[in-house]
Symmetry: C2
């Protein structure tokens, strides 16, 4: 599927705001991909479709996660987590993308996980730092992303966990595991 077709396929599923975000993730992901050993066209496809399920009903997304027997924590740890795994499922079933690298990058783009592949890292980080994102700590993470992707991901995970704690919300365990793993295994 070429870029034009991919954008045409995703656009009806997004709000204007979310479509602009998606273009930002696409551009940022391609920039991050320059330094990594990844197929650029796959990165672009994953970025374009990463929020494909964002506006599906929570009921539909929960049904998918239950039917696939995926980690039930995607359901119990807050509705914001549903669209990533549900998106991976729907992009495969409705759009026909079967590539596991792309689907896995969509699946983990919100929570992160331990030992992410380069493609997973790029989509996770691009989603966090794309130019339309505005929240405390994002500029610092953008700057770090130009120097060291793992350290930037660690900062993003740390900011996310801190944000959830401030709001008295539960923290998806794999997100903490990813932070811990990077903290115990990287410098800076």
């Amino acid at each position: 599927m070429d870029r034009k077709e991919a954008l045409e396929r995703v656009k009806p599923h997004l709000t204007e705001h979310r479509y602009v975000h998606t273009l930002g993730v696409r551009d940022t992901a391609l920039k991050l991909a320059e330094k990594e050993d990844v197929e650029k066209d796959k990165v672009e496809t994953a970025a374009i479709f990463h929020d494909y399920a964002k506006f599906r009903s929570k009921e539909e997304m929960r049904r998918i996660i239950e039917a696939e027997n995926w980690n039930e924590q995607f359901i119990t740890y807050g509705d914001e987590l549903l669209h990533a795994p549900a998106g991976a499922y729907l992009v495969e079933k409705e759009v026909g993308i079967k590539d596991e690298e792309i689907l896995s990058a969509i699946f983990w783009h919100t929570t992160g996980k331990v030992d992410m592949s380069p493609m997973e890292k790029i989509i996770f980080l691009a989603d966090y730092i794309e130019p339309n994102r505005k929240f405390p700590g994002v500029e610092e993470t953008r700057e770090e992303a130009e120097k060291d992707m793992d350290c930037a991901i660690k900062m993003a995970l740390r900011n996310t966990i801190t944000f959830l704690l401030k709001k008295n919300q539960p923290v998806f365990p794999e997100t903490l595991f990813a932070y811990n793993h990077l903290t115990l295994n990287t410098n800076g």
Copy 2:
């Protein structure tokens, strides 16, 4: 063992500062115990001995945790965690306290855990809020402890995790699990 003998047994193992802290934990634990269905003399013993291993060498404490095949995360997640499980071991072997409720309260007093017993909760919280403790958030936690022990423990866990994140340190997974469990199962 009566109170006097317990204090005499623990004193040589602590600095003056830590002994004063221990007396604060004892007083606070007994106050917290008033509202709970626990044996007060056991609470007092657990409080008096909770930091028994605080000044042992890291090597000795690591050897104990390895030899007992306890969770290796007690070793990899920061030296501050060693003295709680090592203390439970040494209090049994050297002081002869065999009571599992007391030993478990000592074992988990630094990290917390999911589904703590009343005794474990009292020692964990008393250690955090005793009057000599001075750090951001402690006064708020003290006030909450008078109203709702579970909510106060959740605040203590949340503050601890936030503090570790700020310092770029890894977070003992069971500490997050305990926070998540209380967040998903309590109000306030």
